[in-house]
Symmetry: C2
Subunit: 198 residues, 2 copies
């Protein structure tokens, strides 16, 4: 499978530049699998236990929650190319997941099962370090996201999203962006209207 090899090479080089030794990476080769997601398919769903850590080769995913009373959806995060994806709280604690993770466009993911990952943690100091760095990165992202929520206006966050994540921006309808910003559709329209003058 030529494609598969190519994807693994991408992962190998990403992990390599994060300091993983080739011999350590070899240990993981039997475990990585590749999966194609069509737009609208789910990486994981509410009440599942998230068993896999994924690495997005390409694509966009949204992670969202449904209010069980009202049925409203609220977007929590978007994931895109070269990010590790998991319903991470569920993955870490092996508890029921509170979110849905849905592909917004056709996407490609390399993934590994948590049992294999734990095996690698036990076998290899290098992989333990990998686990630490993934956790630290996840922390950094959710923290930065939360800080945005607490200390910036929706307008600022909208502007930043346009600048920093144009690919997400172009593959996701505005009402999903509004939800992610914590506001309603009409509010985002008001913001956009205000911005045209500037």
């Amino acid at each position: 499978m030529v494609e598969r090899t190519t994807e693994i090479e991408l992962l190998r080089s990403i992990l390599g530049s994060a300091g993983m030794k080739p011999e350590a990476f070899e240990l993981s080769l039997p475990y990585w699998k590749l999966k194609q997601y069509k737009k609208g398919e789910f990486y994981n769903e509410y009440k599942n236990v998230c068993k896999h850590l994924g690495f997005v080769i390409n694509g966009v995913f949204r992670i969202y929650r449904v209010n069980s009373d009202t049925g409203e959806e609220k977007n929590m995060l978007f994931f895109t190319d070269r990010q590790f994806v998991a319903s991470y709280k569920s993955f870490l604690n092996q508890t029921a997941c509170e979110y849905y993770t849905e592909a917004m466009v056709d996407s490609l993911i390399l993934y590994i099962h948590i049992d294999h990952l734990n095996e690698l943690y036990g076998q290899s100091h290098q992989w333990e370090r990998f686990g630490r760095i993934v956790a630290e990165t996840a922390f950094h992202e959710v923290m930065t996201n939360t800080e945005g929520f607490l200390f910036k206006t929706p307008e600022d966050r909208y502007r930043e999203m346009m600048e920093k994540h144009p690919n997400i921006f172009n593959s996701v309808p505005l009402y999903h962006i509004a939800s992610y910003l914590g506001i309603q559709g009409p509010s985002l329209s008001r913001i956009r209207k205000r911005m045209v003058g500037k």
Copy 2:
């Protein structure tokens, strides 16, 4: 120093029950230091690089940010007994800190310098695992906190805080709690008034 030994024993038993082998813990003994904070003193300050990972023996800290335009403070998190404390983003990336971390009551902290921690990470698979678990725990906390912000009302969060963290609750004035909940003083008063009937 009898006191110091006692604090280390607490840490040893906490880490031991998280799976750390005694031999690995011994490696760290030269590095831990104990510091007393008086109410109002700072664990770290804005623009510092956070060089230490702390473990709260007892006490309460608040981590807050100051709006550079208006001078307003906004509380981000509280830390209390048996939690690891750091301005964690600054600590992980060794970048300038955006927060102040202030003791709300007289407090006691065991801390270790990041260089020593990195040394332990390199020396010992066990300590690498410790680093992973601290990062995973920090992730879990900030994520849970963010979820509260996104999916619960300030009233719910206030109620939960009263139930789950009565010690924080009793050593921190209400206007700090309001700030933490993301609302103003008068709003918290309205919530408290609404609640007396229930």
